[in-house]
Amino acid sequence: MTSTVLFYLLQFLILASALGVVLIPNPIYCALMLAVSMIGISALFFSLEAYFVAGVQLIVYAGAVMVLFVMVIMLFNLKNEVVAFSKGLLSKVLKVSLSVLIFALIASSLSMSFADLNSSQLQPYESAMRSVKELSALLFTKYIFAFEAISILLILVVVGAVSLARAKGGTHASDK
């Protein structure tokens, strides 16, 4: 009973803050809303007893990635660019088609991964430590290729970002 109430409360919090990300014009409040929604997702994992995933969600997304977002937005005071980016027919078409594409991608991958899975196969682990061990065993054996591919992709992105910033003068470039 309490867990159901908690579940719906968290759902409401996550959805409301996710809507806030899209609807609020001020980028700072948007980023903070996204952080709230990520904390909500972590709390949801926690209430479903997926403690490790909940903690990682907090540490990596809410604690590091979103902090960097907020920091960058504060450094560059993005207020003026909001208007310029949101106007025009072309950008509208682009935005709608991109969101439809992303939605289709997520929906299809979800339905594909749930297609050959029935709930009788899903057994809860006897302890939280056990689930962490299972998870790491899967990550380092069955999904090792995807795991390494993602880490290479991340390194590429970091190096690319640094080289792009360097090409334009790095942190010492003058504001024109």
Partner: protein, 383 residues
Amino acid sequence: MRMDAMEAAINALKLVVIFGMMIQAVPLLVWLERRGSAFIQHRFGPNRVGPLGLLQLLADAVKFINKEEFVPGKGHRLLFFLAPILAMMPGALAVLAIPFSTPIEIAAFDFAGSTWGPYLLKVQGADIPLGIIYIFGVSSLATYPLLLAGWGSSNKFSLMGALRASAQMISYELAMGLAVVGVMIIYGTFYLNEMIDMQQGPMNFMFMGKEVIFPYLPNWGIFYQPLGFLLFLVCSYAEANRLPFDLPEAEGELVAGYHTEYGGFKMLMFFIGEYGHMIVSSSVVIIFYFGGYLIPFLSTEDLRQLLTGFVGEGAMLSLATSLVYLLSFIIKLVIFLWVFIWVRWSLPRFRYDQLMDLGWKTMLPWGLLNTFVTMLLVYLAHG
């Protein structure tokens, strides 16, 4: 795990008591900080109000509450008020997962016409599975209040301080995480209680299939992870934004950093957050590296036998054991908090580039090395 009404009420009360303990420790720590700094610098410090100047805390509290309510004219009101409230939360949430002592057993008893119990009361806010992950997850949110304070104040110095604070905390979180990985490899668990249990008795471990025992050393984590301990301690100073890492509030350059525009009780709430962070990281250091609430050279069995002579068997015995262990934990905690204060008044501040170099070019490689060596040794020991 089903709880009846009594147990739920006791647990709720326990949360309040632990939160109150954390809040009440703050004025004492402020007093210790001021008297300690005076002692280190050959001054007197606050010694006029009450015995040893202890009532100064009360006078300070009255002063803080009576100060003028001030919001910067161009500040963001919502964020400005939200920041100090959020500043208290990470410390208060993380302290809940820390085991202060062994559980107290209460036998079944009659109360208000029905039988209750038996109960096992943990001297811990909540025994959260994977306690380490929870503590670090909650503590990693401590950056937001600083950022909100910096942005909400609409002040250059505040914003600079907030940006410095967040950059610093993210940089040092990596090395801290690596130090914790070493600890997790050694103990093979995420549970804080299990970690403490493993540090019982004299130092002993398996090496190349043989058991090695050092009877003159307790089985504490620091003897297995000396480098990890050093990394963790330095990172926890950096995360708490205290000297030598107090760049975010460097008063020579930034007035007071992110809390420049704050006064009165709002500023006190930032202080509570900072001291809460100190309490949590000192407790975690004790649990990882110094045997938690355990007493060196005295096993739980011996302690229970010793106490049986005074209080007899049963519920009183578990209560007495728990109290002795609580005292042992508090003594260790006070020592580590004192080290925090001692370091603050002994070391000069880093320059900003030195701070980043230390974080990324020194601590991170040493952390990786520590993880690798630990993995190798554990593999050898088990193989």
